[in-house]
């Protein structure tokens, strides 16, 4: 990582958004401790994006968060046909999602993943 490089606007936007969201979720976590986990993960991701480090890890976290969050919403809204398995699937999806930054990270994830495509300023920032 070259600290002399100029940080792209996308990196600042994503990192800033994730940090703000992490702090908000962390505040909720003071009442329901389980939300401290996604807050910490989101904060770590924000720091990594800000510093342009560990692109692979950030990509995996964003991808898993997005997939698990999407799965959770779809199963909850449309999963009645799954029978008793519905709640097992939604429960696993929720836990995985929280472990990868929670719903807030899942919402930022598309932006992050698009920015991490080869050749994009954000991907170059991590290079």
């Amino acid at each position: 990582m070259n600290l002399a490089r100029k940080r792209p606007g996308m990196a600042a936007l994503v990192a800033g958004t994730m940090a703000v969201v992490a702090l908000l979720v962390g505040y909720l976590g003071l009442s329901a401790y389980g939300y401290l986990v996604p807050a910490v993960v989101a904060l770590i991701c924000a720091a990594l994006v800000w510093q342009g480090r560990l692109a692979g890890l950030v990509r995996v976290i964003a991808l898993v968060s997005m997939v698990s969050g999407t799965l959770l919403v779809l199963v909850l809204a449309l999963g009645d046909g799954l029978g008793d398995r519905k709640l097992d699937i939604s429960a696993v999806a929720l836990l995985v999602n929280l472990a990868t930054g929670g719903p807030a990270t899942a919402l930022v994830a598309p932006l992050l993943l698009l920015g991490l495509r080869p050749g994009r300023p954000l991907a170059t920032w991590f290079a």
Binding site: L28, L30, S31, A32, Y33, G34, Y35, L76, A77, D80, G83, D84, K86, L87, D88, S90, A91, L94, L95, L98
Partner: protein, 591 residues
């Protein structure tokens, strides 16, 4: 008022069996008549009792089916009980005058006050802001202020109590819980205080009679009691997975255990800590309704199942509700014998046709994105909790911790409009009522003018009567005009509030019966005169959750404070009020 009940009274007269009969005067310590005093006769075993209320001249008359060594007690707010015993034969009649006493101390007087007198003194920083969560979440299951709950504790001990309640499904936010703990630590200080309560004697009261039968143990939790076609009183024991059956004529009580399920203790709620013995069953039988073929349909709250019980064969049959249904609650049957029930924790309504055995689960309107998320996630969180039995880990993921109770919708009571067959429900936390078209299943909702609509019922004309639990009120909604009318329930002491839970309308008389669970009362509202009539409960710590009517006009329920151990007798009971029963006894004994 007599004309309303007179035909019923005449029907009831020949059926009354009398062994020991007593009459006399109930008096205050200074000798004046004790108008409205309760005169109670307990049977020799102490498991059954009957009560009448003294007239304006202090006179009372009561016929009972009891024999042996009987206890007579006179009770009235503001005075010490007067008691005596009498040996009674099979058909004996005796004159017994009873006198109320003076209290030896202020502390002794305090022991006789209802919970409402104690929680009226709680020092809420802002009553309108801070008390609603307490009323909604603490008074939901039990009184707070009775002898069991008003034990002085410091702030940390109350925090632990609030946490214990949260482990049993109370849902205050973290901030609300801390406020409740602080206020209870300050308010329940154990110091004697002056207080005055008046239960409002009336000529109507002096005509009434109350019958009680003790049942179960200190952890029996008979949520609902219903009179079936056979005239027996059935009670669903959510704590012990039992169906209790009382023969009111003989006093015989039978119990039928629900069949075992594959679920662990606590059913789908096995992740809860369940610390004081409630919710120890697997099914959690909650409410009942009967179809015309005689089968009794039971919602099993903990196992999320529907169950039928055949009173003839005593056989149970189980029907899974399926989907992500969580906590099937109040149940009613429509004119086509279709069974409808609310599913509180997943914001749904269940519809079951016993003829086809087809189960339909209807999602109700979400009432906002955050409520949708919470309602949708609630069942998921319970599933996660069930992977860690007794640890209550899901609480650390529940949004109620920061948003509070109102984040859930909680469809609670339900009833069928006798005029058009539509299905109506009340959302306890979202404070809405809704109508479901029974054919199209189209839903329309209205905001209620008072908070906490609990268990509503229709009158014969299709008017919807709704108890406002959180605001101590009564609401009436006219589906034709879509307008509400509201009334405040009278209280018995200064700064007190009321928590109306059960409500039912006797469609023959039009009278609205309500539970006033904060002050050990049953209330009757007469829509014609718009007057409230109060019936003080002979038993301290009376919490009633539903009413059912007998063919002869009695109003029956089950006393189900959590835990039953906190009730004056230390046990649950079945209770029936006969509005004209006292007058019948008085007439029979020549009064």
């Amino acid at each position: 008022m007599l004309h309303r009940f007179a035909p019923l009274a005449l029907l009831a007269l020949p059926a009354v069996a009398d062994a020991a009969a007593f009459s006399g005067k109930a008096s205050l310590p200074d000798g004046r008549p004790a108008y409205g005093a309760m005169v109670t006769v307990s049977d020799a075993t102490g498991t059954m009792r009957q009560t009448v209320y003294a007239a304006a001249d202090g006179s009372y008359a009561i016929r009972t089916p009891y024999a042996g060594k009987l206890k007579l007690r006179v009770r009235m707010a503001g005075f010490a009980d007067g008691e005596t015993t009498r040996e009674a034969g099979a058909t004996s009649s005796a004159r017994v005058d009873l006198a109320l006493g003076q209290f030896a101390s202020l502390a002794a007087m305090n022991e006789t006050l209802s919970a409402s007198a104690y929680n009226a003194r709680l020092p809420w920083p802002d009553v309108r802001r801070d008390r609603p969560a307490f009323v909604s979440q603490c008074n939901y299951c039990h009184q707070v202020g009775n002898a069991w709950t008003r034990v002085p504790r410091d702030h940390e001990q109350w925090i632990a109590e609030v946490a214990k309640m949260e482990n049993m499904l109370a849902m205050p936010s973290k901030a609300e819980g801390a406020t409740i703990a602080r206020v209870l630590a300050q308010g329940f200080d154990g110091k004697p205080f002056a207080a005055s309560q008046s239960y409002g004697a009336s000529a109507e009261l002096a005509k009434a009679k109350v019958r009680e039968w003790l049942v179960g143990d200190g952890y029996t939790f008979i949520h609902d009691a219903d009179i079936a076609q056979d005239g027996l009183l059935y009670g669903t024991d959510e704590g012990h997975d039992l169906l209790w059956v009382l023969n009111r004529e003989t006093g015989k009580i039978d119990k039928y255990p629900l069949p075992d399920s594959h679920l662990p203790r606590g059913g789908l709620f096995s992740g809860m800590k369940l610390p004081i013995g409630q919710f120890t069953g697997q099914h959690g039988p909650h409410s009942m309704a009967q179809t015309s073929d005689g089968r009794i349909w039971i919602t099993n709250a903990l196992s999320s199942t529907l169950m039928s019980f055949d009173p003839k064969t005593k056989a149970f049959k189980l029907y899974p509700v399926g989907h992500d249904a969580l906590y099937p609650h109040t149940i009613r049957v429509d004119a086509h014998d279709v069974v409808w029930f609310t599913i509180v924790a997943s914001n749904q309504i269940g519809r079951f046709d016993p003829k086809t055995e087809q189960m339909t689960v209807l999602h109700l309107p979400a009432n906002g994105v955050l409520r949708w998320v919470t309602d949708m996630l609630f069942s998921t969180l319970m599933r996660i909790g069930s992977w860690f039995p007794g640890e209550a880990v899901h609480l650390n993921l529940s949004t109620h911790r920061f948003f509070g109770t109102r984040i859930l919708a909680f469809p609670y009571g339900i009833d069928v409009n006798p005029v058009d067959g539509s299905i109506w429900y009340a959302k306890l936390y979202a404070s809405k009522i809704g109508r479901i078209d029974p054919v199209t299943l189209a839903v329309k909702e209205w905001d209620t003018p008072m908070q906490g609509p609990r268990r509503p019922r229709f009158d014969a004309a299709g008017k919807f009567w709704i108890p406002a639990f959180d605001e101590g009120g009564l609401m009436r909604f006219d589906p034709k005009t879509e307008r509400f009318a509201t009334w405040r329930i009278p209280v018995v002491g200064r700064n007190e509030y009321e928590t109306p839970y059960a409500l039912n309308v006797d469609r023959r008389s039009g009278q609205v019966w309500m539970a006033a669970n904060n002050s050990d009362r049953i209330i009757r509202f007469d829509p014609a005169s718009q007057r409230f009539f109060t019936y003080p409960s002979p038993t301290r710590v009376t919490v009633l959750r539903d009413f059912s009517f007998t063919s002869d006009g009695q109003v029956c329920s089950s006393s189900s404070n959590m835990p039953a151990a906190a009730i004056e007798d230390g046990r649950a009971n079945f209770v029936c009020i006969e509005p004209e029963g006292g007058a019948i006894d008085r007439k029979a004994l020549g009064g």
